[in-house]
């Protein structure tokens, strides 16, 4: 899995006591946007066969943003692969460092690390809130998740929210 929001979300759901399947479903739902990125990228990249299978792994927020901002297909391809390789390498090195380093911590709460994921999610969410509708949906989703939280298993509030927003979007 190489798509940050999905990785954070899966760890978050399982860390909060949710089942691995609630975590997996949340991760996959967050990954749906990458399919739309693929639609934008396929004409720019012009890849087929094994190269397409390899490039698919790099379809993320960062590579899409860098690739579609170029003015020629050649520059787009360069931006895609350069960004993909750089992010892939550094991201996974960072993950490894984090995995090793946090083993040395007895209680992550002392460093306030339990407050870090929501801040990371907020930083990921903020650029998507530039219009009134997503802002309203964000507040609505947060409230609905908290209202149902005491009554359903951990992780399920996220799936309820995802279902509601999908129905809202598709029926409009």
């Amino acid at each position: 899995m190489f798509t940050g929001a999905s990785q954070f979300a899966m760890v978050g759901v399982i860390g909060a006591g949710g089942s691995e399947w609630a975590g997996a479903a949340t991760a996959a739902l967050l990954g749906t946007r990458n399919a739309l990125y693929g639609v934008r990228l396929s004409s720019l990249l012009g890849v087929t066969g094994p190269r397409r299978a390899a490039s698919a792994h790099f379809v993320i927020d960062e590579t899409t943003a860098m690739a579609i901002a170029r003015d020629t297909a050649e520059k787009s391809r360069f931006a895609f692969w350069a960004t993909g390789l750089a992010v892939f390498t550094l991201w996974n090195m960072g993950t490894l460092i984090g995995a090793v380093a946090t083993h040395a911590l007895s209680n992550p709460k002392v460093l306030g690390l339990d407050a870090a994921p929501p801040a990371a999610f907020l930083a990921l969410l903020a650029p998507r809130l530039r219009a009134r509708e997503p802002l309203a949906i964000a507040f609505g989703a947060g409230i609905v998740a908290l209202v149902v939280l005491p009554f359903v298993p951990a992780g399920v509030p996220l799936l309820i929210v995802a279902t509601l927003v999908a129905v809202f979007g598709l029926r409009r």
Partner: protein
């Protein structure tokens, strides 16, 4: 069993990317799909923020994490880099717990 969930989620996330590159363009260019899919991360990220800040287990709680989130929001509004947003929230929670 966590690894089974991780593997399934990884396969699903990869399949979504490959589908975007491979499926006929018009399938995913349907106006309703184009409108709905960007709303999913907005709703899910907001729900993650709310549940991880204002709850412990099945209980709604208000503690130092709320203050940490407020600091993170200010950092976001000031266009601080990602790591600064995250570090400022963690530092806020850590310092308030010392008090």
């Amino acid at each position: 069993m966590i690894w089974a969930g991780v593997l399934v989620a990884s396969a699903a996330c990869y399949a979504l990317k490959l589908a975007g590159l491979s499926l006929p363009q018009r399938w995913l260019q349907d106006a309703r799909v184009q409108r709905t899919v960007p709303l999913l991360p907005v709703a899910l990220l907001a729900a993650l923020i709310a549940t991880q800040t204002f709850s412990t287990g099945h209980h709604l709680v208000l503690d130092v994490r709320a203050a940490a989130l407020a600091v993170a929001a200010i950092a976001v509004l000031l266009r601080a880099p990602f790591l600064v947003v995250v570090a400022s929230a963690a530092a806020t929670a850590a310092l308030l717990r010392l008090v």
